[in-house]
Every structure is written in structure tokens, then in C-alpha cells.
């Protein structure tokens, strides 16, 4: 059963187009005037103006590794993040902690930890899956580089961006 759409009957002024066109012109003109008088919010002028201070806590920027308050690498190279990572951006080479070390009881730490920032999609799965809360998404979003190799963050770089995070998991230290 076909539905008959009733078209509204236009009066003579509406059919002449001109009043409607004038109305449209006035609308755009009012926008232009408001814009000239600075009454409209416009796009931010990015490199000069930034929104960094107002980024929300849950902002998902570059994934990084963190150390705890005693300078221990939180990562125990369980490789869960490597497995969960949808674009497979993370590559971990696990390594054993030698018995003489202070943290010998942790047994494992990453020998190498690489995140390919060209592949990373900033989904935050690695942060969610990490049992040690060692990987965090920071608020850095301007990740740039001139070569592909430069865009692969190695362990050193990841710790440099990540820094230290206190509290959280305490199963390895005396605070327990």
C-alpha cells in the first residue's frame, strides 16, 4: 500500500523563492556579523592554541610503560598486551631477572619492549588487560617522526614518556 505524501501548498510568496532566498541570505549574514564581532566560538588555531590543560583524565594518548616508586619496572613481560593488541603494535622480548638482583623474586622483566606507533590505534586495550598496571595511556597525542624507525618506541623511550606511577599494585614490595 503506497503512502501518499501530502505536499504542503505553497502560497504565492513561497513560490516566488525570493523571500526565502532573502531569509537565507540574512541568516548567513548574521553568522558573518557575529563571527566578525567575536561572538561565535570558532575552531582552535591548533599549534598556537592547545587544549592540553583541559584534556579529560580518561583521554587516551600514547601508550607508555611506567616504573613504581622504587624505580622498579612494573612490567613483568607476561605478554598479555602483546596478545590483546588489535593492530599488533606491541612486540615484547621477555628476559629473566638474574638471581642477584633486588627484584629477583619478580623473575621476569622485558628485555625489549617496542610499540609501533604507526600501527597503534590508541584503543587502550593494553592498559585494560595489564595485570601489573604497567602500561598506561598518557595524554601525549602529537607522536611524530620523519622515519618509520623513529615511530617505533623502544623501552627507553616508553619509560621516558611514562615516568613513575605510585601506589596501585603493591604485591612485589614491602608495603604489600
Amino acid at each position: 500500500m503506497a503512502i501518499v505524501v501530502k505536499r504542503p501548498k505553497l502560497n504565492i510568496f513561497e513560490r516566488m523563492y525570493l523571500p526565502a532566498i532573502a531569509k537565507g541570505l540574512l541568516i548567513t549574514l548574521s553568522h558573518a556579523i557575529k563571527r566578525l564581532r567575536g561572538q561565535t566560538k570558532v575552531t582552535m588555531q591548533y599549534p598556537e592554541e592547545k587544549w592540553d590543560s583541559e584534556l579529560p583524565d580518561y583521554y587516551r594518548g600514547a601508550p607508555t610503560l611506567v616504573k613504581d616508586e622504587q624505580g622498579r619496572e612494573r612490567c613483568v613481560s607476561c605478554q598479555l598486551c602483546e596478545f590483546i593488541c588489535p593492530p599488533r603494535a606491541i612486540t615484547i622480548t621477555p628476559g629473566e631477572i638474574p638471581s642477584g638482583d633486588t627484584w629477583a623474586k619478580v623473575e621476569k622483566r622485558p628485555e625489549e619492549f617496542e610499540i609501533d606507533m604507526i600501527r597503534c590505534i590508541y584503543c587502550g586495550m593494553c592498559e585494560e588487560v595489564c595485570p601489573e598496571q604497567a602500561i598506561f595511556l598518557r595524554k601525549d597525542y602529537a607522536i611524530t617522526g620523519t622515519t618509520r624507525a623513529e615511530m617505533v618506541h623502544d623501552k627507553e623511550k616508553l619509560y621516558e614518556i611514562g615516568g613513575v606511577r605510585e601506589g596501585l599494585v603493591n604485591k612485589w614490595n614491602e608495603l604489600k
Binding site: I21, L25, R35
Partner: protein, 379 residues
């Protein structure tokens, strides 16, 4: 040889005018009207627009005034790609054929009254070719502009450009008629086809759409001019709307409407060849604006018959040039304003508007003008 020497001063004068007007004014204006379009549309849509490119290798941005140069450079450096399936000769010919007529029409456009240069007795007329058939010349050359688009559509040998070319040619042929008919009241009133003398008359008796002169401080308007305002306003509306259609500008940009035809007749073009289409459209818009200003808004003359035509002083000559280009720029801004405010027409609506409404109204308008001229005939 003696004959050559006789025409030499005229040749030099013409060359100076052509180079000055076309290369120093119109072409930069074309480039900057693209910039104006982007900035003004940004203003209308609460955006910023291109405001960064300034002097290269410095931080000085000059509100983005370097953008047109950068765009031009970019177009030249792009790969000039000719698809394998096109008809080569016409494919190469088409961009030139859109640009040339657009620039050629400015030959009869009076861009000022006279210019009295020191040490020269005779003041220069500020028009490249002072033709007695100026208006017809404009129509004749502008009607050649359609070849470029038709050829581009046909030579590209692919569906969307072809449809664009077909649309464009039928649209331009249709609206040429109402464009021509809407000018006839002006010709009837001024009794002349020479654009220069039309402006001169508007300078003396007030603009076509503002027929007011000042007597001391008291505005004077005759009954005849007041009555003629009715057909002239109708003419103006028809003329401007047809101009939009002729220059393929929104709301009548169906030959290249993106949503239906990708980019219309220039889909297969790249690099500088595409730029020629793009700039040809803007050149046509500028010349069209100049034409509308000349016919309806008094050309280079100030309102209310103020000032002089510049045949006795350099100052008023320069003021005339400034007035003309100020009016043209105002008209271009109007073009842009319309473009970013009104949605596109449907193709059948466009044809209906041209043939069923404008054609008849313009014919009736001529009759009305004739009747008014009869009533107020100076006996």
C-alpha cells in the same frame, strides 16, 4: 612605414591598457577572489579559513594573503596527467577555450572615465576598445565560452564529464536568452550600445538603479526615472540570476555538481589544466560582475552624479578607477554570499525558471519599458 608610425602611439596605449588591466588587475583579482571566496565562506559558516600562508620561510602570515601564490605554485608543480582514453587535441584545447573568452570580454569594459596624465594633452579613455557595439561584443564573446566546457565534456570521453558538458551547454544557451533580453530595457533607455557612453549617461543622470542627482543638497528624481525603476529592478534581478547560471555558480552549478557528477566537465583534468577551468570560472565571474556594475550600478561613477569623469584632473580619474573596482569587489562578495547561502537547484527547476519564467518576464519587461518611455516621451 609612415602608416605604422601613425598607429604606433595607439598601439602603445592599447598595450599598456591590456597589460595593466588584464595582467595587473584581472588575473590577480582572479587569484584573490578564490582566497576571498574561502575566507568569506568561512566567515559565513563560523570558521576561520586559510589564514596561514604569508611570506615564505618566515612566521609572518599576513592573514593568509600568500595562499593564492602557494595554490598557483602547487598547480604548476602537480603532475599534468592526460588519460589515455581522451581525444587529445580537444582535451588540450578545452581549458584554453574557457579562459580566453572570459578574459577577452574585459576589452570593452570601461574601468574608469578618463585619465589625465601630466604632460599629455589628450586624456586617455579608460577602456581597452571603445566599441560602439560593446554590449553585443560581450554577449558574442561570452557565448563562445560554452565551447570550452562542451569540448571538455566531450573530449574527456567518460560519462560524468559528458553529462556535465551537456548540462552546461543547454544551461548556457537557455540563460543567454534571458540575459540578453534583460539588458534590452537598458539599451532602450540609454539609446546606445557603447558601454562607455552608457556609464557617462549614468554619471550625469544618476545610476540606472539609483536615478537620483543632487541639486545643492536636495535630492532630485524625475517621474520618468521613478517609473523606470520598476522595469529596471526586474531587469536587474533577471540579469543577475542569469549571470549566476551563465557563470555556472551555485545555485546553478549543475554542470559540475559534486553530488551527482563527481566534478562535472573537468573530472578528467589535473594540474594547470584543471586550474585554467577553475580560474576561468572566476574570471567569468569577475567580468560578469563588472558588466552588471557597468550596466546597472553606474560603472565608475560616484552616486548622485558627484565628482567628474576625470577628463580634467588626474585625481577624479583615479577615483573613478577605484570606484569601479570597489563596486566590482562588492559584487563578487555578493556572488560568494549567494553561493554559501542557497542550495542547488534541481535541473528541471533550472530549465523551468529560465524558459517559463525569466523568458516571459523579460519580454513583458521590455513592453513595460517601452510603454513608460512612450508616456514620458520628451516632446
Amino acid at each position: 612605414m609612415a602608416e605604422l608610425l601613425l598607429i604606433l602611439p595607439g598601439l602603445i596605449e592599447a598595450t599598456v591598457k591590456i597589460v595593466g588591466l588584464v595582467f595587473l588587475v584581472i588575473l590577480p583579482m582572479v587569484a584573490y577572489s578564490v582566497y576571498a571566496e574561502r575566507r568569506f565562506s568561512a566567515l559565513l559558516q563560523d570558521r576561520v579559513g586559510p589564514n596561514r600562508v604569508g611570506i615564505p620561510f618566515t612566521k609572518i602570515s599576513l592573514a593568509g594573503l600568500g595562499q593564492p601564490m602557494a595554490d598557483g605554485l602547487k598547480f604548476i608543480l602537480k603532475e599534468d596527467f592526460t588519460p589515455a582514453h581522451v581525444r587529445k587535441l580537444y582535451y588540450w584545447l578545452a581549458p584554453a577555450l574557457t579562459m580566453v573568452p572570459a578574459l577577452l570580454t574585459c576589452a570593452v569594459l570601461p574601468f574608469g572615465g578618463y585619465l589625465k596624465v601630466p604632460f599629455v594633452d589628450e586624456p586617455f579613455r579608460l577602456v581597452i576598445a571603445d566599441l560602439d557595439v560593446g554590449i553585443l561584443f560581450v554577449f558574442a564573446i561570452a557565448s563562445l565560452g560554452v565551447y570550452g566546457i562542451v569540448l571538455a565534456g566531450w573530449a574527456s570521453n567518460s560519462k560524468y564529464p559528458f553529462l556535465g558538458g551537456i548540462r552546461s551547454s543547454s544551461q548556457m544557451i537557455s540563460y543567454e536568452i534571458s540575459l540578453g533580453l534583460s539588458v534590452i530595457p537598458i539599451l532602450m533607455i540609454y539609446g546606445d550600445l557603447n558601454l562607455g557612453s552608457i556609464v557617462q549617461q549614468q554619471h550625469e543622470h544618476g545610476w540606472a538603479l539609483l536615478p537620483v542627482t543632487l541639486d545643492g543638497l536636495k535630492p532630485v528624481i524625475s517621474m520618468r526615472d521613478l517609473a523606470l525603476l520598476v522595469p529596471l529592478s526586474i531587469s536587474f534581478v533577471i540579469f543577475v540570476t542569469s549571470l549566476f547560471a551563465e557563470t555556472n555558480r551555485l545555485p546553478f552549478d549543475l554542470p559540475e555538481c559534486e553530488t551527482e557528477l563527481v566534478a562535472g566537465y573537468h573530472t578528467e583534468y589535473s594540474s594547470m589544466k584543471f586550474a585554467l577551468f577553475f580560474l576561468g570560472e572566476y574570471a567569468a565571474m569577475i567580468i560578469g560582475s563588472g558588466f552588471a556594475v557597468t550596466l546597472f550600478l553606474g560603472g565608475w561613477s560616484l552616486p548622485f552624479g558627484l565628482g567628474s569623469d576625470g577628463s580634467d584632473s588626474l585625481f577624479w580619474g583615479l577615483v573613478g578607477i577605484g570606484t569601479f573596482f570597489a563596486k566590482v569587489i562588492g559584487f563578487i562578495l555578493f556572488f560568494i554570499w549567494i553561493r554559501w547561502s542557497i542550495p542547488r537547484f534541481r535541473y528541471d527547476q533550472l530549465m523551468r525558471l529560465g524558459w517559463v519564467f525569466f523568458f516571459e518576464i523579460a519580454l513583458f519587461n521590455i513592453l513595460l519599458t517601452a510603454a513608460i518611455l512612450m508616456i514620458f516621451r520628451q516632446s
